[in-house]
Subunit: 372 residues, 2 copies
């Protein structure tokens, strides 16, 4: 079962929304570069993201124009959303910023993709010194945050695939194998359940679990280890990201206790989700449970991040983020406790905001599971 | 046989060279972000390149300082080159640009990695409005261009592995299979010959070969097709990139003619390589052969690009590039002719500059090969 394709109409509607939201935010236009923004708004993903300028101009004063290197033009033309733009190209040796500058007002104020290259931003700033630029994270943070029905269906399917992978991994052997062996199993499972790309397969056993960004290493997993599993990637272009923490053999009382604190914190974070509350309230709800249990200093990251065509995007569930939740937003709720040198626990689901509150896209058992 | 590891001393020497070359170019320092620059100068490659600021400050007025998100600090500490820096971190919720700003002079002029995120450059510009920034491509284009002995050995090994893959692919069946099938074979061969990453496996059969950036598609290869193969990736962190054009069954006289023009153009490009000549002379030498043969309009890209920890970096062999070749530089020489709707031919080797002229890292037969 594969996803319903996005149509040229879908992409044209997104482009119009970008221009309108930009105008409302005081922007004369939005400059979109290869990566998740361009993929979202056109379906176009250049083979490689390189030093050659590719930029979509979504401005208030002209039709959408996609500027590409001449030799990538055939690929761009093949993208569904490119049909909703005027294609322009520049040839090796020509000045791409002269071509780009012609699309812009010399005194204009523009939004630009977060991951646009500094090389390209500096080129625009030099070509048009009177222009001003703002990152989309700061000026239009929620541009891709509210998903439409087709996007929600893809995220739900990605979550279900990740859940299926978790179900299978509980049955594989952990003890006596390296973290990288289990990570490889997870990657294969994600692919076998329809992911076209695997972005991360964290297997943090024992003390490695206390480093929240540990991926997987040569450590041989032992009986008694607490193991953080955190894995995801893209299925039909949309992300999965889920974490569960398991125990190899019977857990100690301390592991049980910490796991239960994190489980309750995660539940509190999900329970806090409803339209209109500030993102930071989700963080506060989860953090309060951990702080009250005495582990506040050991919860060293934000509670969650948005997900869509990337696995890390706005909205962020973090203290200080006052933007309100809106139905259709999707993000992780993933509190953790990290006891340096010993073990870590993290539990994570993707949650979408509905009128009635949060709805999870990950639904595997959150109780502490024992593996072999 | 694996590569000799780079030492902390190697990385410290590179950092010192960055500061010195920056000073000579009028810079108060160079700001390095995750990607090929950071990998080259520290060996550190964050698990994911995200919106969280990671930046290495190589400035004239302080010791090298690597600023990382707190939760990625253990990974950063594990990198060999990080031992030659002072590590600093910032925690989710704090302002990374306040931390970054403290490393910079309020009126300073800095170089910044080409692929630094616009989000981060705009953050620095807002925090310190008196600072000025220049891309490394414009201000220090040759920073990574001259390779040391260990780097040359890695590039040579990567080229030999790509050559071995080409040798094997000549023996596989082409006709009746999809381009993507042959591409998969190429990727597996590159991995089997020691590549840890495959970046591209172009299989452009018949009319698809006339699009220089076509990757590989569902087209079934037929007898009589001219097929462009262009493949590469990273082996021990350094790139391979080679192209050969083969014919499925006996070639027509036209295919033979075009192939011979490209072969002679490629040889002329390599023959032009010697210390002190401008990069554009390599382009001119190759282009002249193609233009004289009447195919000038069908050679629609530059003749080559540098290679190292990326497969596309300065120096570029392109009209207008007047920077001189220096021994130790490594780049592709890859002229092509593209007959839209019909077929294309490209021949590519990686070449290094020696005192005596160009030396190839790809040494497979450049004559037109017939495959089955």
């Amino acid at each position: 079962m594969s996803a319903v394709p996005f149509t040229r109409h879908d992409y044209a509607a997104r482009m119009a929304r970008v221009v309108e939201e930009g105008r409302a935010a005081g922007l004369d236009g939005v400059l979109i570069t290869p990566g998740p923004d361009l993929y979202w708004v056109t379906g176009y993903q250049p083979t490689a993201i390189t030093e050659r300028l590719t930029m979509l101009f979504l401005t208030t004063d002209r039709e959408p124009t996609l500027l590409v290197p001449t030799l990538e033009r055939p690929d761009a033309e093949a993208a569904v959303g490119a049909g909703a733009t005027t294609l322009a190209d520049w040839t090796d040796g020509a000045d791409p910023f002269a071509a780009a500058g012609a699309m812009l007002r010399p005194d204009g104020t523009y939004g630009i993709s977060d991951n646009a290259w500094a090389l390209h931003l500096l080129g625009l700033q030099a070509a048009l010194p009177g222009t001003a630029y703002h990152s989309l994270t700061h000026r239009l943070p929620m541009l891709r945050a509210v998903k439409d029905g087709n996007e929600l269906a893809r995220l739900e399917a990605a979550g279900a695939a990740a859940d299926a992978a978790y179900g299978e991994i509980l049955g594989v052997r952990f003890s006596g194998r390296k973290e990288t062996d289990v990570a490889r199993d997870l990657a294969e499972l994600l692919r076998s359940f329809g992911h076209e790309r695997v972005d991360f397969t964290v297997v943090g056993s024992g003390p490695n679990g206390a480093n929240p960004h540990h991926e997987a290493g040569d450590r041989v997993i032992e009986v008694g280890d607490c193991v953080v599993l955190d894995f995801g990637g893209l299925r039909d272009g949309y992300g999965s990201d889920t974490s569960r923490t398991v125990c190899v053999g019977e857990p100690t009382a301390e592991i049980r206790e910490v796991h239960e604190v994190v489980r309750l914190a995660q539940q509190a974070g999900v329970d806090a989700v409803r339209p209109g509350i500030a993102c930071q309230e989700v963080d506060r709800a989860a953090r309060r449970v951990i702080t009250d249990a005495g582990y506040g200093e050991q919860f060293i990251h934000r509670t969650g991040h948005g997900i869509g065509t990337t696995t890390h995007e706005p909205p962020y569930m973090i203290e200080g983020e006052e933007l309100p939740l809106v139905p259709g937003m999707c993000f992780s709720v993933e509190p953790g406790v990290y006891l340096t040198g010993r073990f870590g626990v993290r539990i994570e689901d993707i949650v979408t905001v509905t009128a009635g509150g949060g709805r999870r896209f990950n639904n595997t058992d959150r109780a502490l599971q024992v593996v072999a």
